[in-house]
Amino acid sequence: MRRSAGRLGTGLAAVLAIGLALRATGCTPELCLRNSDCPSGMVCAVDGSCAVPSAGSDAAIDGGSDDASTIDALVEIP
């Protein structure tokens, strides 16, 4: 039992070390990879910057965390 507890402790310590290492890695957080990396109302461009979607683009309809069906209804032209 004591040996198992030791192993679990070692595992937890390893996880904490990994978490701290990842936290310290700045990476390139200013660049986006996904639309949800951007503030609401903006989408991720191919160059990694967040941008306001241009009217009529697919990204304008599906981007970010907006509800696509709501926006689809707004842009629908009879």
């Binding site: 039992m1 198992s4 507890a5 192993r7 679990l8 595992g11 937890l12 390893a14 996880v15 070390a17 990994i18 978490g19 290492a21 990842l22 936290r23 310290a24 890695t25 700045g26 990476c27 390139t28 957080p29 660049l31 986006c32 990879l33 996904r34 639309n35 949800s36 990396d37 989408v43 991720c44 461009a45 191919v46 160059d47 990694g48 697919d58 990204a59 599906d62 981007g63 970010g64 965390s65 907006d66 509800d67 696509a68």
Partner: protein, 170 residues
Amino acid sequence: MLVCAAGAALVTFAAPPAIGSPADESLWKAEIQAGYGIAIGGSGAGMSRRPTPLTITAIAAIAFEDDPPLAAYGGLVAETLDRNAAGAVAGIELRPHGSRFHLAGGATVLATPYTLWGATVSAGACLHATRAVGLCGDLQVTAFLGGSDLPEGRTVNQAQFALGLVVDAP
């Protein structure tokens, strides 16, 4: 950038060694995992890396084949920290007899508030505090291939270290 790569390497070599498990013959298991790591997208000068969201996964797995020892798993997944999204995961897991090591492959689908889908492979091992309860560490690599959350023409790959609490049943 170098530090970022070093973090990814650390994740890669963090999985515990594969040794015999008292619970590797269980018929089913339930597990809750928390995963965190690095996401990479783009190519060349346009390549960018950033920390992934914190991914919380709750799964149940049931063995359906003894030789090879395969189990099917399915469950719910949520992304949190700087966003909130929910979806589902499903796949197949290989749990070799007499080993704590396991391999898995399957699909990850986020369904709300945006869509995102991809393929996931993982490898890891479990350490059991008791016969039924244990702690698992997995390296999970996911390739997100489509969905409304991806910019057009882009895929995103992420590597996460997932820590899980598992409950096995005989």
